[in-house]
Assembly symmetry: C2
Homo-oligomer: 247 residues x 2
């Protein structure tokens, strides 16, 4: 038996799911993928994900890997698995990797996009994919604040207390804010993210936009290395994992 | 007691609902609105809708009316009701009408938009609001076919057999097809629609686009006055009631 390592690229509408991670009795992306692969191969195969997206969070470019004892060519995988997945989850790509490929360690950068609807009326057709903030936001203050987040820093203040990873140092390459027709998009690219980090960054920037936090206080918040120093947690449904780049 | 007649404009994401119409044991828009009004007024008030949208169908401009024994000014209604509605239903407007106003009879025209995604990959983030057709569609044939639907005609062939209305004659003012970045939008405006009429029109036009029905056969289909003469029924989730114009 020769096991082949396959890397999958996966897109999903997270609004009906309890996040990526398999949990007993809950509808999760990892859980449904595992079931789909079982239907296809007959075996219970462990699927390792690159990002543990939370409940309500969507993805266009999640990545996952699995080891498989099958002769199906990698390029035939997506269609074969998609036939066994609900319509709001799709495997968009599959490729064979070297046996020592590690879906988490090999990540170079990831891009998350957070969408805020800043119009007055509740955007019902998009409400499961955005955070609706009818209040006025000072975008230029938010942009000033966002610049303080760029670079290699200790992001402990922006991590959920539950995050038990050894180091809280991460590098943020990009934290751009785009305004388009009452929609605000926060594009955050980094070499990795702590638990809830993007949602804490967006929530804090929104607090800056509402005048609750001064843009220059971001430095102080980072130095505090304490979650309570930062602003509110943005709700999960506005977040989408856009892509993950590998070496 | 003086009853006032109030007209509501309502928007909703229909993807989690069993359509507009109240049904025992089912989550419906009319049902949830009735509950919200009951929480607000303490009474079970009948809410009359202008359009019976099907399961999965969304709306940006549904209309409904109710008679109410309350002094709340009409302009305060939306916020008061919205506080009692789930986030995917919203009352966007309310106005007081003369006592003899009839929410169905007073309709002048309605516009429905049907969205088709014509790209290869399943559009997971939009899959609950479109019909995904990866196959090639001949848009110019569809446009030719659409022109045959304009005007005052008997649309019996495009009505579900279950439709028991007296006359099947309706006037279609517009049946436009717009193509934008792999998205196809069908905008159908008429003075009224039979049960499943827009979905049968779109399904038939898609059959034309795929070469299964010739564009000039539309005249023959209309003359047949028989549902089986027309093409397939487009799925509900691609449909959205955009607005209703009143006299």
């Amino acid at each position: 038996m020769t096991l082949r390592k396959i890397k999958l690229t996966i897109a999903y509408d997270g609004s009906d799911y309890h996040g990526w991670q398999k949990q007993p009795g809950q509808k999760t992306i990892q859980g449904l993928l595992t079931e789909a692969v079982k239907k296809l191969t007959g075996s219970n195969i462990e699927i390792a994900g690159a990002s543990r997206t939370d409940a309500g969070v969507s993805a266009l470019g999640q990545a996952a890997s699995l080891e498989i004892d099958s002769r199906i060519p990698a390029k035939n995988f997506p269609k074969a698995i998609n036939d066994k997945l609900p319509r709001d989850i799709i495997v968009t790509d599959a490729e064979q990797m070297p046996p020592d490929f590690d879906i988490i360690k090999a990540v170079k950068t990831k891009l998350y996009r957070y969408s805020v609807y800043n119009g007055k009326k509740r955007p019902v057709l998009h409400i499961k994919h955005c955070w609706h903030i009818p209040a006025k936001l000072d975008i230029s203050s938010m942009e000033t604040a966002a610049k303080h987040l760029l670079g290699k820093k200790d992001f402990k203040s922006f991590a959920a207390a539950a995050d038990k990873r050894k180091t809280t140092i991460r590098t943020i390459f990009r934290c751009d804010i785009t305004y388009e027709n009452q929609w605000l998009y926060f594009d955050v690219e980094g070499d990795g993210f702590l638990y809830n980090m993007v949602r804490n960054i967006v929530g804090t920037l929104v607090d800056v936009g509402r005048g609750r936090i001064k843009p220059d206080n971001i430095e102080k918040i980072l130095k505090a290395k304490d979650r309570t120093a930062a602003g509110q947690l943005a709700p999960g449904q506005g977040l989408c994992l856009m892509w993950i780049k590998y070496d």
